[in-house]
Amino acid sequence: MTATKKTVIGLLILVALIAIVPLFILQDAEFGGSDDAGSVAISEITGTEYEPWFTPIFETAINGEIPGEVESLFFCLQTGIGVGIIAFVMGRFVERKKQEDGKSGLKKTK
């Protein structure tokens, strides 16, 4: 159990490092989206500025681009919904296992 915990913590630290290190190494990079880089590549291949033939319906509805702050709101909403569900389910699993272990009186070790 402790070994598992150590593995998990170690892995999570590794993830954080992989994600953060580029920010320190590439100090003058823009960190724009790679989806946008895709549209740049399209222009390079076709030789002309590509004009999308359909604009996102939300942008059409508000007649402009989604403000950055509002966009981050929706991204947070998405993350929040996901994390909420995972935490809820995981919490139930953990409690259930505790009760089962308590009932049977033996500590299952994985």
């Binding site: 159990m1 598992t4 593995t7 998990v8 892995l11 999570l12 590794l14 993830v15 992989i18 994600a19 953060i20 580029p22 920010l23 190494i25 990079a29 960190f31 724009g32 989206g33 790679s34 989806d35 946008d36 880089a37 895709g38 740049v40 590549a41 399209i42 390079e44 291949i45 076709t46 030789g47 590509y50 999308p52 033939w53 359909f54 604009t55 996102p56 939300f58 942008e59 681009e65 989604i66 966009e71 929706f74 991204f75 947070c76 909403l77 998405q78 993350t79 919904i81 996901g82 994390v83 569900i85 995972i86 389910v89 995981m90 139930r92 699993f93 953990v94 259930r96 296992k97 994985k110």
Partner: protein, 254 residues
């Protein structure tokens, strides 16, 4: 996979495909990371139609699974939530641009590839409508890359690793990471098909788009692999009954 469907189901698929064609002409076709309006109409429709049978197979797989193992609905919700979280996190990468993960690996490993088409398309719709990320016209192409091709790759790698008896967690890592990467390879391929280079044709374009996506995605694929292993470790510790229902621990993943 269609061979195992009965006549009623086949008819259902045919009708759905017909409806998809009709709707395809009003821009309600398909896509994941290709931006709104960036695929020509023909491609948008074609990718959307290709996705239809997979979505129906996914729906049926979920229904069948929930009927046989009602308890696993919690894990299914979790797999969906995992896609929500991972595809919302934009992470800086070594190339100086940001990208995000797909998160479809976990569900593909637990439930097999088919159900992920449904879970993936939900996330893609959310992002296309509310975030102007991806798009409704590109929904088909994006669904194919993220919710179909990626999960199938993940599942294939996972089964392969099981066959050759690699450590299970290493197998999970490889499956999730390669599935993530494969999603972006398919995206590059889709863009290349739509925008073949004048000098080198589709092949030259594939190389070009891969050069845009792949280096950014490699570190992220590694992160996705690791995170999926972490979740799997958590589930192995706390959700053994559900994993047994799914056949994850015993071998025969359904």
């Amino acid at each position: 996979m269609n061979t195992s469907l009965n006549i009623r189901e086949k008819r259902f698929i045919a009708v759905a495909a017909a409806i998809a064609l009709v709707f395809g002409f009003t821009p309600v076709a398909s896509a994941m990371h290709i931006m709104e309006g960036y695929l020509p109409v023909g491609f948008s429709v074609a990718w959307g139609v290709i996705c239809i049978p997979f979505l129906i197979a996914g729906y049926m797989a979920i229904k069948k699974n929930l009927k046989e193992n009602p308890k696993t609905i919690t894990l299914l919700a979790m797999a969906g939530a995992y896609v929500f979280v991972l595809s919302s996190l934009k992470i800086p990468s070594v190339t100086g641009s940001c990208s995000h993960m797909t998160g479809t690996g976990l569900g593909a490993i637990l439930f097999g590839p088919a159900p992920m088409s449904i879970l993936g398309v939900i996330v893609l719709l959310f992002q296309a409508i509310l975030l102007a990320h991806g798009g409704l016209t590109t929904l088909g192409a994006n669904t194919f890359s993220m919710a179909i091709a990626g999960p199938f790759m993940t599942y294939g790698i996972f089964i392969l690793c099981k066959k050759i008896k690699i450590n299970r967690h290493v197998g999970v890592f490889l499956a999730a990471a390669i599935g993530d990467l494969f999603t972006y390879c398919i995206t590059a391929f889709q863009l290349a098909l739509a925008y073949p280079s004048e000098s080198g044709g589709v092949a030259a374009s594939v190389v070009k788009f891969l050069a845009v996506f792949a280096p950014t995605q490699v570190p992220l694929a590694i992160i996705e692999g690791i995170l999926t292993v972490v979740i799997i470790i958590g589930l192995e510790t706390y959700a053994q009954p559900e994993l047994n229902d799914l056949g994850y621990l015993t071998g025969g993943v359904k």
